[in-house]
């Protein structure tokens, strides 16, 4: 069986992982309520998409 000949240094491990990261979702502004929302999706805050109410949002009492 093939086995590693030498141990990896911490620096080698860390530099390999330098590119392992998550990127933030890009967001767009809802034209109705000006909250940040996901692009191409109905706004979860006000329920609007393309100038029309798409889903009714329950108001908290």
């Amino acid at each position: 069986m093939a086995n590693p000949k030498r141990r990896h240094s911490k620096a080698r491990t860390a530099s390999r992982r330098a590119h392992d990261y998550l990127t933030a979702r890009s967001l767009s502004e809802c034209p109705n309520c000006h909250e940040q929302k996901l692009p191409h999706r109905a706004c979860p805050k006000c329920g609007y998409y393309k100038g029309r109410e798409v889903l009714a949002i329950k108001e908290k009492e």
Binding site: L38, H40, R41, A42, P44, Y49, R52, V54, L55, A56
Partner: protein
């Protein structure tokens, strides 16, 4: 290999997938708007468009073809009488898919599927539902108040007679 085989399998065998799509198309025609997952919404689109094309042809043969696909007679009638004429000289693109975010349990992306031109019908439906909900809420409130009013006269004299020595805990 899957080369040139269009469409998604949706994790189902042929008969299951066909039944699912027929159900989706029938529901959409009857309800004008349905909520489903985004892959199902995209998979049903060509089927709905084919049905509407049949509806635009409007002859008896087309009606029978549509009836062999749609699940109910009512859906066929609605397709030929109200849905297809509404589409006018639009060539395809009869559906609108609006993504609404992810389902909590399994992270599936949900979407609304609407027939174009059904905005009014959907708004009316929403309005009716909101009214029914308000009515139900009011009735529940009334019932609760009545229950409280009934409970109060029975409960109130007792604490008063004992209450002064021990102190009210209510």
């Amino acid at each position: 290999m899957r080369h040139l085989k269009a469409g998604k399998k949706l994790g189902r065998n042929t008969s299951h997938r066909r039944a699912l799509l027929r159900n989706l198309v029938t529901s959409l025609i009857l309800d004008e708007r349905i909520q489903t997952t985004e892959p199902k919404a995209k998979a049903m689109r060509p089927h709905v468009e084919k049905m509407i094309t049949l509806g635009k042809r409007g002859d008896v043969a087309a009606r029978r073809l549509a009836a062999s696909y749609l699940m109910t007679r009512a859906a066929v009638d609605k397709l030929f009488d109200t849905v297809a004429p509404r589409m006018g000289d639009r060539n395809g693109g009869y559906l609108r898919i609006i993504r609404t975010g992810w389902r909590k349990g399994d992270g599936a992306e949900k979407a609304f599927v609407e027939l174009i031109g059904s905005e009014k019908a959907i708004a009316e439906k929403q309005h009716k539902r909101a009214e029914a909900r308000a009515k139900r809420r009011e009735e529940a409130k009334k019932a609760m108040e009545e229950a409280e009013a009934q409970a109060a006269p029975e409960a109130s004299p007792e604490p008063e007679s004992k209450g002064e020595s021990k102190g009210d805990k209510e």
